[in-house]
Amino acid sequence: MSAKSGHFSTVKSAARPRGQWRWRNIEGYFFIAPWLVGFLAFTLGPFIASLLLSFADWNLVKPPVWMGLRHYRTMFTNDPKWIKALYNTAYFTVFHVPSLLVAAMLTALLLNRQLPGIGVFRTLFYLPSVMGGVAMAILWVWIFSYRFGLLNQALAVLGIQGPKWLGSTVWAKPAFVIMSLWGFGGTMVIYLAGLQGVPRELYEAAEIDGAGAWHKFLKVTMPMMSPAVFFTIVMTIIGSFQIFTAAFIMTDGGPADATLFYALHLYRHAFQWLHIGYASAMAWFLFLVILVLTLIQVRLSGRWVYYAGEAPR
């Protein structure tokens, strides 16, 4: 039922004195003041400061010196590690995003059943995603150990000689992709909620029309899940571009810069070498890349994302 056909009693707002309007506005600002102050001081302020610093040279001690576009030129022309970091991050994103989403969707489909104890399984699959940071990174260092790690031991059972993982320039990035799947639980929960929101009548109608399991998934489940999938694609891409903690703890960008991700390279310039201006420029470039990718996805979403209640295109 659309809003236009609903019955609403409309109350004509009585003409209020001007002073009362002003007092209401002040009241409103007063209530949002804590958040507003925090936003200005800790978000917008640093945003603007970092934008200005991206055009300056600053090492925390001396006053900033204006450099114009020099940092942006250096990124593209005189910093091979920047290019390497961008490549490593793009590599990780390209493999991490689809594998995470597929793993989350498959698991959500499996867990979308009314079975005794299903809640336990849902919890178990979700738990790893709330374990983050340093502890997880150290755990995975052990799992990826060449001689004694769980992963290579499991591969040995199958008769496969496991690679050096974190000690190999070829396998270090795939190791991070594998490790990142550990956290699919958050995405799985979103998909689970989405699956439970798909009307049963649609499945029944599809069955009546003779659709099998695969067709039901393709023609009913996926279109109805498309808003959730779109959301998770956007958020996962944004998150994957910012991978830092695991690389910092596990490999520190090695071996041989194979896991030198963008955020780690930025961190080094900012906090190890005091190139605050250059690091700010890197941060703004990353912001632009993520912004462009998000806009592209939003643009393309019109072709495949279905919102119930929208007028047909």
């Binding site: 009241e27 007063f30 209530f31 925390l60 001690v61 001396k62 250096t74 005189n78 091979p80 052990w142 150990s145 060449y146 001689r147 004694f148 050096k164 000690g167 320039t169 090695g254 071996p255 041989a256 810069d257 080094r268 906090f271 190890q272 070498w273 005091l274």
Partner: protein
């Protein structure tokens, strides 16, 4: 007629009450301070003094005179500062049984005894590289333990407090006469002719040999004038599969690759340099430097006498974090701090060796890396901070550091009488290094950290983990290193 309170009114009143409560809670606490005032007291003491004996031919006269003596008895000096706290920051242990912690606690106690009313708050900061930069930007930097990588850069920018005025009150401190300040490290102590830091400790490379491993294999301790070829022969003898499982589990040598410290001793001994004098060019591709790096590389990849990454990882998983102390490695290229660290391994029978000579070259070189203490120029209590710095680096503390064998002290007497003493048996090697080698500080220049991480930790390490061949690694190291140097 009772009037219903609206939600808006309830929220308005709650917000006002909350704001009032917050304001009340933020009132400064009024604290009663008990003031203890002491003053100098003059005290009269009666003292009987035997003055003189007069010997006269006929009689002896002894005069005993009672003298009233006025004695100034200082009870407790009235404290100049009351309730003042000054801060100190370090990445090393501050509390516990670690030698560095013992050193810090002793300095704290001595300083606080000399400065009643003042408390020294010592903080261990593991992420000190980020923390000191943040505190510098915020102008809250406290007295700190520094190393050479960033100190001189910061000194150039006037970050540190001049100590000359306070040093006048400390005649026991004579930096020029009594301290070792290696060539190239002047900026760690002086800036524009003024003293801005007190030297703390010196680190340098040291060759250690596991005497039990040597004895088990019938190998004698090498002579002082041994060469790289002798080192290789000994390492080959010590590298064995002791368990018979087809895998080497005992190696002749172990060293590092990630920093300039790991390469410089080899390159200097071969007659090369790592960087040009003007700090504009990376020189690891000179023939001498290449020869040195090639020898070092071959220890691992040609002669297999140095454990590789997976071997170290295997040992680490098996709980062996120090292969030398665990008897898995015969010769360890380490630094002077190992001497103190090995006090934790009382059963370890090890000794010091001279660094082997480059075949055909009798001249010996030795790098040094200095740590120091300094206070910020914007200190709220410059006198106290300066006194703390002087206490930390002064002769008494230097001697204590020498006895603890944290690293080599900078105070000459502490080196001779405290640090360079057994154990190990041949601790005299330390003194002979200062006497016989050309000792210089590792190069100090702006951008050094980034350059080291790029050249040694980055490009050269790629070869030492087997990812690229050595020639390519050296070429890339020079290109990348020069790029970094050009950006500063």
């Amino acid at each position: 007629m009772s009037r219903k309170v609206t939600r808006r009114e309830l929220l308005r009143v709650s917000a006002l009450v909350g704001a009032g409560a917050l304001l009340a809670a933020c009132q400064p606490k009024i604290v009663e301070v008990e003031k203890v005032v002491t003053k100098e007291v003059e005290k009269i003491v009666k003292e009987t003094v035997e003055v003189e004996k007069e010997k006269i031919v006929e009689k002896e006269v002894t005069k005993v005179v009672e003298v009233e003596k006025v004695v100034k008895e200082i009870v407790i000096p009235a404290p100049k500062y009351e309730g003042v706290t000054i801060r100190f920051m370090s990445s090393y242990p501050i509390t516990g049984t670690h030698p560095r912690a013992e050193f810090m606690q002793r300095v704290k106690e001595l300083f606080e005894a000399k400065h009643p009313g003042v408390t020294v708050e010592m903080e261990r900061v593991p992420d000190i590289d980020v923390r000191w930069k943040t505190e510098t930007a915020a102008r809250t930097l406290p007295v700190m333990l520094w190393d050479a990588n960033m100190f001189c850069e910061m000194a150039e920018q006037g970050v540190f407090l001049e100590l000359d005025d306070r040093l006048e009150d400390h005649p026991e401190v004579n930096l020029e006469k009594d301290y070792v300040i290696p060539g190239g490290a002047e900026c760690m102590v002086y800036h524009q002719g003024k003293v801005v830091a007190m030297p703390y400790i010196l680190s340098g490379p040291v060759m250690l040999c596991n005497m039990d491993l040597f004895d088990r294999n019938g190998i004698e301790r090498p002579p002082d004038d041994w060469t790289w070829n002798d080192l290789l022969d000994i390492c080959k003898e010590l590298t064995q599969d002791t368990t018979g499982d087809g895998r080497i589990d005992q190696w002749g040598f172990n060293g590092g690759t990630t920093w300039d410290e790991n390469f410089t001793q080899w390159i200097w001994t071969a007659g090369g340099e790592i960087i040009s004098e003007d700090h504009k060019h990376t020189l690891v591709d000179s023939p001498e430097a290449k020869a040195a790096i090639q020898f070092y590389y071959d220890l691992r990849f040609k002669h297999n006498v140095w454990p590789r990454g997976e071997d170290t990882e295997t040992m680490s998983v098996a709980g062996i974090t120090n292969p030398f102390a665990a008897g898995k490695v015969g010769i360890q290229c380490s630094n002077w701090g190992a001497i103190g660290a090995f006090k934790a391994f009382p059963d370890l029978n090890y000794d010091l060796l001279h660094f082997p000579k480059f075949p055909g070259n009798d001249k010996r070189y030795h790098w040094i890396f200095m740590q120091n203490f300094a206070a910020p120029s914007w200190s709220e209590y410059p006198e106290l901070d300066a006194d703390l710095v002087i206490e930390l680096g002064g002769p008494s503390s230097q001697r204590y550091a020498g006895r603890l064998k944290i690293q080599c002290p900078s105070y000459k007497k502490a080196i001779e009488e405290d640090f360079a003493t057994p154990p190990p048996e041949n601790a005299r090697v330390i003194l002979e290094i200062f006497a016989q080698y050309e000792v210089n500080h590792l190069p100090i220049f702006t951008g050094k950290t980034e350059w080291c991480v790029t050249v040694f930790g980055g490009e050269l390490t790629k070869a030492f983990i087997g990812e690229v061949d050595l020639d390519t690694a050296i070429k890339e190291a020079v290109l990348a290193g020069d790029r970094v140097l050009a950006s500063y």
